[in-house]
Amino acid sequence: MSKYFATSQEIKQLAEELCKSHEIYGPQVDQQSGQVFFDVLSDLDALDLDAAIPSMPVKEILFPQMERILQYRYDDATQNVTMEKAYAEKPKVLFGLRPCDLAGIQCLDRFFLGQEYVDDVYLAHRRQSILITNTCTRPWDQCFCVCTHTGPAADEGYDLDLTKIADGYLVQVGSEKGQAIADQRGWTPAEARQLKEKDAVVDRSVEAFPALAKDNKAWISRAMNRITTGFVKHEIWEYIGNQCVECGACSFVCPTCSCFNIEDAKMCDGECERLRTRDSCSFEGYTRMAGDHNPRQPVEDRRNKRFFCKLSFSQSKKYLRPGCVGCGRCQWVCPGDIGLPNVVQYLRRETTA
């Protein structure tokens, strides 16, 4: 696919142009706390492509924490039900995605769109989305995408991909949609020297992992092997399960977690709404089935479910990639000490002992 060079000014112009026809989302920094959010850009000047990995996953845009999906009303007199869908399709551009978040979207695509059943709500959000990725020129504390092969540069699935090089950006096209945008921009084709420069940027980023990505020294491939072959002692799962306070955070911040719950709520005057909310395998009520049977009642069984989902080979086969994209967010938010990278450590310590 084509490759171009664009100046920072031209990248800004791209955002300005796209925002005329699309809702534009991108990384921005909350002034007071310094926390980074990937959210709607009410002001393009807030777009910060150098900002750290966003604190919340980008799935919020395609698969929000809570969403009204349907509204209906039952008329007593006529015994009629009227319904309307409560979500709308809006063209969006996700500007400056981190590669791990792109990989997360690919997992969600596979879950919501890639199998027998196609989820209309997700499709409505996803269909007209333009994905523009941004190579990580350095990792942050909690990153381990090098272990999950999801970064620091994206390799597929984007429409456009940006890499910051000396005097601007290398822009790579990843789809026809991306090509159509590029065709309108009049960017100069990239020179070989600029492609090499990107390689150097990526190499430098990878080399910086030991020094900068110091929170997590994951050991994913061996852990995958252990989990897939069932070579993990029950006591280890119990040790892990004992640390879970069942908050659900790990699922909520994980770019690939796709579980949800549907509930109908009554509003005033006979109107009802159908809400979809994110859900988590850490909750007891989530795994309970009809007739009082709960296949995963003890908390340790529910916990290992999560790690099977993220790391077992059979699951990876289903999603065409591992369920963990190495963003490290679950480590941030877990009140226990059992973010995925830590669990990998526990498995390793136990299995190498």
């Binding site: 706390s33 919020e60 924490q65 007891e284 009520g285 941030w332």
Partner: protein, 634 residues
């Protein structure tokens, strides 16, 4: 950007969060990574506050009951009616009671105390969780000179030694529990004293599973051993001798007999001696215990305060003694004076059939179950103000809507005195009034002009009248993650005193006839009996799933006892207490219980209204209350 900084309003930890709002509705939640206490963590409640704030079960319009039916009214009309009716009752003779909420902001509670004092002229006040908190505050004031936490919650991250007394903290304040666990992982010694094997007990370096009712004895034994270690090492601190009450305290400790200790508590003194060596070696010590509705009894809190004093480490910057509150602004509510005077609570007036109480003014009641319902039904006049619908509405003559905590500016004081500001981040679509403004309008109607223009203005008045808040303003609080109020606001701060303690060896109240020691407390998803949690989706499902499994509630017993009783999980049993009341309830077999003990979470309605009615002290004694019962196959 749609993410607005906010403070979680669902327990006394005071975690930092962002609400994702489009200005009209709250769409989602994000934790606040930089918050010094929560550091990017939230519990299941905090993660689902968006569901609560989206509920359709809001009170949106004032209502007046006429001819038995509620009808919509304007604020003006409703306020008029309240003030006119309240004139019929005499506050000074105890006819008017005010039942406030420990979830309201400081501004709201401050204005409410003014309304109670200056307009209703009553001091029959109270909030739901007050009894326990009065005990904690009195114990701390006596020992350390001011009613509030010694040190701060962030000390947990640095302390050498952490003692958790009682509290099932990973359930009640999960983020504090998580911080304690993290401290254990980095090498701090975490010790839990609790008669059940709670999650934090499992995660501790050491768990003392004493017999129910002997926590205080065990803590005294630890103090004795600490004193002994010091004497042996000749590192007795001269300045400790100078603290009033020292000699009596030491004399009492000396009288503890190892044999009697072991008989009563089931713990050997040698173990305690070893523990004391660790405690002595630590440079910094954090002690946490729960305060409020399921808190400890007076005596146990005094024993804790004494032990903290005796360690002589409380002045270290990484030491702390924290009464952990289950409700967000319990500390602030106390600071504002809304908890009333000890011994004169609105609950007491309600419970006492001969009290002169005739009218009741209630704000944001959290409980789904209303105690003393019959009495309230027979009162002449009941006013309910609140953001969310509540069964109290059925008892009210006038209902006044309030804003929810994200629809107005307000400050909240967490368990460790951290005062934090939440700014309005969502439009107030139904034009509800914030509490302070509603009370101000009432005062105006009654002829008193307060002149507050916004919450920040109310706060300047707080700073003037509450000395420990003197140097705080909304502007200062809004710049970071809040500020701790200053103990120096109390002239006695730093004046230390030991409590007089009596050494008692609680005899098991159980007998052959009533062999189980029944404890009453919280369960995982039943915070505050759930009026709020019932308005969420996911936490409510978690609650319901327990109810589905155990529709009449459950009593937890250990597998061995279950075997002896020949019952299995979910089988119904009959529980009979020594006062004669009985209830049918399902068994939940739970390996974390000790033999001979039983546990019932107190969300079950008929338990509160019928079974426990004879045990009022079960509420005031909180965690330490033990009721002897017999359990039989039903």
């Amino acid at each position: 950007m749609n993410y607005k900084a906010c403070v979680c309003n669902l327990c006394g930890t005071g975690c930092g969060q962002f609400l994702k709002t489009n200005g009209k509705a709250v769409l989602g939640v994000s934790p606040s990574i930089g918050h010094p206490v929560s550091k990017g963590k939230l519990c299941i409640r905090g993660w689902h506050v968006n569901e609560l704030l989206n509920t359709n079960d809001r009170i949106t319009t004032p209502m007046i009951r006429s001819n038995g039916k509620l009808r919509p009214a304007s604020y003006d009309e409703a306020i008029d009616w309240v003030i006119e009716r309240m004139r019929d009752f005499s506050g000074p003779s105890g006819e008017i009671g005010v039942l406030a909420s420990a979830r309201s902001s400081n501004e709201d509670n401050f204005a409410l105390t003014r309304l109670a004092r200056d307009i209703f002229k009553t001091d029959v006040l109270g909030v739901g969780a007050e009894a326990g908190h009065h005990n904690s505050m009195a114990a701390l004031t006596h020992a350390f000179g001011y009613p509030g936490a010694i040190g701060t919650l962030t000390a947990i991250d640095k302390a050498d030694y952490i003692l958790v007394v009682g509290t099932d903290i990973t359930r009640q304040n999960p983020v504090i529990g998580g911080n304690i666990h993290a401290a254990q992982m980095r090498g701090a010694r975490v010790v839990t004293i609790c008669s059940a094997r709670t999650q934090i007990a499992k995660l501790s370096t050491k768990h003392y599973q004493q017999k129910p009712g002997t926590k205080g004895l065990l803590l005294n034994a630890l103090a004795k051993a600490l004193y002994a270690v010091r004497t042996m090492n000749h590192d007795r601190q001269a300045n400790l001798d100078a603290i009033p009450g020292y000699a009596d305290y030491i004399a009492a400790l000396r009288s503890i007999s190892s044999v009697a200790l072991e008989n009563a508590s089931g713990i050997r003194y040698e173990e305690i001696e070893e523990e004391a060596r660790y405690l002595n070696m630590a440079k910094s010590v954090v002690i946490v215990f729960s305060t409020g509705i399921s808190g400890l009894d007076k005596q146990t809190t005094e024993i804790i305060a004494n032990l903290a004093l005796l360690t002589d480490k409380m002045d270290h910057e990484h030491s702390a003694l924290i009464p952990v509150a289950g409700i967000s602004n319990l500390q602030g509510t106390y600071d504002m004076g809304m908890t009333g005077k000890p011994g004169k609570s609105v609950f007491r007036s309600l419970a006492d059939a001969r009290s002169p109480l005739k009218a009741l003014f209630v704000v944001d009641h959290d409980d789904g179950i209303i105690r003393n319902r019959d009495r309230i039904e027979n009162l002449d006049f009941v006013v309910y103000c609140g953001a969310f619908k509540n069964p109290f509405m059925d008892l009210a003559d006038v209902i006044l809507p309030l804003t929810s905590f994200n629809q107005t500016d307000g400050t909240y004081t967490a368990s460790d005195r951290r005062v934090q500001l939440t700014r309005q981040n969502t439009e107030n679509l139904s034009n509800s009034l914030p509490g302070w403004n509603l009370y101000q309008l009432m005062a105006e109607k009654a002829g008193q002009y307060w002149g507050y223009c916004d919450a920040a203005h109310v706060f300047t008045d707080i700073a003037k009248r509450v000395p420990s808040y003197a140097d705080l303003t909304h502007d200062r609080l809004g710049r970071g993650y809040g500020l701790h109020w200053d103990p120096k606001g109390f002239p006695t701060a730093g004046k230390k005193k030991f409590h007089a303690v009596r050494i008692e060896y609680p005899k098991p109240k159980t007998s052959e006839e009533f062999p189980f020691a029944l404890m009453v407390g919280k369960a995982q998803h039943f915070w505050h009996q759930n009026n709020l949690m019932r308005k969420t989706l996911i936490p409510r499902r978690e609650y319901d799933q327990t109810l589905l499994l155990y529709p009449q509630g459950y009593v937890e017993i250990c597998p061995d006892d279950a075997k002896k009783l020949k019952v299995k999980d979910k089988w119904t049993v009959q529980v009979t207490c020594s006062a004669g009341t009985t209830m049918k309830i399902a068994v939940k077999v739970c390996p974390d219980m000790q033999p001979g003990t039983a546990y019932i979470p107190y969300f079950i309605k008929n338990m509160i209204s019928d079974f426990l009615i004879k045990y009022d002290d079960a509420f005031s004694a909180g965690e330490e209350s033990v009721i002897p019962v017999r359990i039989e196959e039903a």
